[in-house]
Subunit: 96 residues, 2 copies
Amino acid sequence: MSKLTIVANIKAKADKVDLVKAELLKLIEVTRAETGCISYDLHQDNANPAHFMFYENWQSRELWQIHMNNQHLADYVAATEGAVVEFTLNEMTIID
Amino acid sequence: MSKLTIVANIKAKADKVDLVKAELLKLIEVTRAETGCISYDLHQDNANPAHFMFYENWQSRELWQIHMNNQHLADYVAATEGAVVEFTLNEMTIID
């Protein structure tokens, strides 16, 4: 199994930045404890505080997919319904 | 001085992927040796091989700006002239 890098970009509605940030922060400890999680770091754009980004490294795509189906991500989606204007996710490979 | 995360997205022309990749790879060793460089990792999108991404961490914005003005980046820009269709750069802060 080869490693997987995930880049997840989340853009919050202007008046929902604090809500989205709080919900994203809740994901970190529980996700870092998941099988296969190498790193899971949340960032905020210096020029646009509504733009958050998770940079994640996983032992394999299979283990990342288990994470994606976990309850805490479902809870995040429910808690931020209507508060996120854009979400993109890229699966990548470190080439050096 | 606070740390800085850089996310640089580079999209190559379809027929210039190998050229751009080769030029990006040349940047890695010299950049990692620069003062202030904590990490400098090149990725390729699994769904779009023309999409490259550097995930970078720097000790400070000042030291990153010295990097941005270095000769090897100027050489990269010259070597890939006309071969890159899109370039975006985000300055970010790790919040957890």
